[in-house]
Symmetry: C2
Subunit: 251 residues, 2 copies
């Protein structure tokens, strides 16, 4: 590993390249580089006080993550293919992406099944009683964004069987059927590698990073909708705010 210490910085070049890449990465994700020409290598060298080789390595990292497009003769431009998904507000995908693109849901399965024990407790269903199982691949502007496995309590789920699931968010339909607004959802999020089959379904290479989300949505005081969602890591960011719990400043 090449080490070029500068100014007491004993890290290797890869460390410094990561530092440069991260700052640029979030400028791209925040859209800050949208309306200006992308900084030249010389600009970045000056801004971070690093070598040109370090800058090239940083740009290669962003390129590998699909955040830059390098067009010969034109130069480097940031790719803004990531959609913001809220972790503050519960929203269906079509609602989330208003103004970003058209959502189409490819329905792969929609049927009532006996509730597996592994699912029953979270939806407060007696194991073996019916639940709607729904499997959808969701595309935005024709490109796969996510693969969603959804369980919906039977009284509401039965009505989904007759609805237009291709063109509507399940959330919107549940609210239409019940006449009530959803209340909240509990989330668990992970970064996982795409298994071979999920990768093929989502149009990415096996092992690609996916944002995996478990979401349990509540309506009328009960859990009604349990989802397991695989988002393509190269197409989605999760955004929101967290507040500091009140408490003593520990000295």
């Amino acid at each position: 590993m090449t080490t070029t210490p500068t100014d007491g910085d004993l890290r290797c070049r890869a460390d410094r390249a990561r530092q440069v890449a991260d700052a640029l990465r979030f400028q791209i994700l925040h859209g800050e580089l949208r309306d200006a020409p992308f900084p030249s290598e010389a600009d970045i060298v000056a801004d971070f006080a690093v070598s040109r080789n370090t800058v090239r390595e940083a740009l290669a990292l962003l390129n590998a993550d699909g955040l830059l497009r390098r067009v010969p003769g034109v130069g480097t431009t940031p790719v803004e293919a990531k959609y913001p998904h809220s972790i503050d507000h519960l929203q269906g995908l079509a609602e989330t992406l208003v103004g970003h693109g058209a959502v189409v849901n490819e329905v792969r399965v929609a049927q009532l099944v006996p509730t597996p024990e592994a699912i029953a407790a979270r939806l407060r269903i007696v194991p073996g009683d019916p639940v709607l199982y729904l499997e959808r691949r969701r595309l935005v502007d024709g490109v796969p964004l996510s693969l969603d496995l959804t369980y919906v309590v039977a009284d509401l789920g039965e009505r989904l069987l007759d609805a237009d699931l291709t063109g509507n968010d399940v959330f919107a339909l549940l609210e239409e059927f019940s006449g009530e607004r959803l209340q909240k959802a509990d989330l668990v999020m992970e970064a996982v590698a795409a298994d071979r089959h999920s990768a093929a379904t989502l149009g990415v290479a096996p092992g690609s990073p996916l944002l995996m989300l478990e979401r349990l949505a509540h309506l009328g005081g009960r859990p009604v909708d349990l989802e397991f969602i695989r988002f393509r890591g190269d197409r989605v960011t999760m955004r929101g705010s967290v507040v500091r719990p009140t408490g003593e400043v520990v000295g």
Copy 2:
């Protein structure tokens, strides 16, 4: 690809294996399988009405994700190596992991640097004015959990240079110095693949899924701490609740 249609379900076996794996996955992550023997293949066959080969494929998926340990002669046990990180409350790592494990911070860099333009706007610093740059590898019970690149405004950052950064969260130190409680942070989260060098630093294979977090924390009404954090995907989950924005039920 082998297709074994059952009961109008025209998906291939890999689809059904994913469905089974996802339900078990979140039972493991929620700790629901902690105190009972892990379900046998026969149990899972019965629970999901799938073939034994499908169940084996599902278990192989969980195994590949590091969620199961299969000990010959003993059987299968779930691995609970993932730490819950809150997306509702702003907390430092040591606070988050109270009761889970001991956090050690390996400080790789801690120095004042001229603020790069790519960073300045977010922290409301004049480009070129000093900012503290801090790079830490964070280990829980001796195993790498994350690699954190942090920029702290100079008035608070200077004091961090004399503090015990190995044993303390930066958040706790900032509150000690200022006598004020942090207020909130803005988050952007992504799933990314580990580049070769980050992978080596975190002790995972190149390309492993990482949860990448940008976090901008506020104190006394101004942004003071900007972090770029790579969490190992196999060790961290993000958890919290989202509420439904009030509004009309769209019919």
